[in-house]
Symmetry: C2
Subunit: 181 residues, 2 copies
DNA sequence: CGATATTAGTAGCGAGTCGCTATTATTGCA
DNA sequence: TGCAATAATAGCGACTCGCTACTAATATCG
């Protein structure tokens, strides 16, 4: 039934995204390219391969492959082939890429009047909804490293018990493909 | 800066939309077609022309023209030429169109556990954000007829003071292009 | 009244997404 | 060692999107 809360929430989300998309075009990026680049800027070094980007964006490897190539042509990402697995590639956002991201800021003005409390409330509501929707579809959560069951933190050292590696302090706040809770 | 509340909220919105989009493909609709159809199902008879759909979706007349033609080919909308202005066309969702919309329901399960209070809270937060974002860009609000300054309601009669027409009871809850508050 | 905007809808271009289905490397496993 | 699984990519057809025209109908105004 059109008009109920579900439909309304869905349409609100959609219109907000379309508005954001309109802004993204002005920054030499199309919405998919923006989304991929924004992910790469927040993802840790174990989570920047095409298939991981595809999964995060609920897209396919084929499409994302093209998107990343386009970003590469524009100089917004750098390609790094893996040493251990010669099939896989990792993409990192370049300085120019981060600049392009900043140009497409949309909700700065509309969110300016919000208190920190209101921001986290909204953020948490959306996070919960997304989490449930992802779970219903059997998708990975793509949570933050620090909030993972494999994350170990003692003294001033961080460590991932799953991948068996030491972690830099700055990596604790990044998105991880393997994150679980 | 990636990682702040703004960026995070934007990425959450984006991922929710992409998830919804993935669901829409399964209902013989692409995301744009779904969005246009969902709008037509909620818009009143003064608001169903291509240019109005385009404005609602932050798109262009050209693109929406194609989208509506595609929906027409699929039998999901009906075309009606205006009697008064022979340039304009109005599109209405057909019964088959409404069925297709229902097939693409996504947030049913994830939102099932929410209380009515939580639903309206989330809905209101998003509405406020959208409203501010639209205002910042100088766009129309596309609000609901009933909540308009031109809406008159006395006894059991509804009336629009702007368009100078009587309104059916069922129209009071529909989206209107002319809505202002 | 008639010339001149303005408006509504559409067509067509080029780039690119998206869901597909292969295809090619490379790696893991029995 | 052979065969399945995996990572990335290529290519197809339908489509969106931002453009720039373009047609037809309606408004405006000297």
């Amino acid at each position: 039934m059109p008009g109920d809360s579900q439909t309304e929430i869905r349409q609100l989300l959609d219109r907000l995204c379309r508005l954001a998309a309109a802004e993204e075009w002005t920054a030499d990026l199309n919405p998919s390219q923006y989304a991929a680049l924004a992910y790469l800027a927040r993802a840790n070094r174990f989570s920047r391969a095409p298939s991981q980007v595809a999964e995060y964006l609920s897209s396919t490897r084929g499409t994302i492959s093209q998107t990343l190539k386009a970003l590469h042509r524009k100089g917004y990402v750098a390609e790094t082939r893996s040493q251990t697995d010669r099939r896989s590639i990792s993409y990192d956002a370049t300085r120019a890429g981060l600049d392009a991201l900043r140009k497409a800021a949309l909700f700065e003005k509309p969110l300016a009047g919000y208190s920190q409390r209101e921001l986290t409330d909204l953020s948490d509501s959306l996070k919960l909804l997304l989490q449930r929707a992802l779970h219903a579809r059997g998708n990975r959560p793509f949570g933050i490293c620090r909030e993972c069951i494999h994350h170990r933190h003692r003294k001033d050292e961080r460590y991932c018990a799953l991948l068996d590696v030491r972690l830099e302090e700055s990596e604790a706040g990044e998105i991880c493909y393997e994150q679980a809770s």
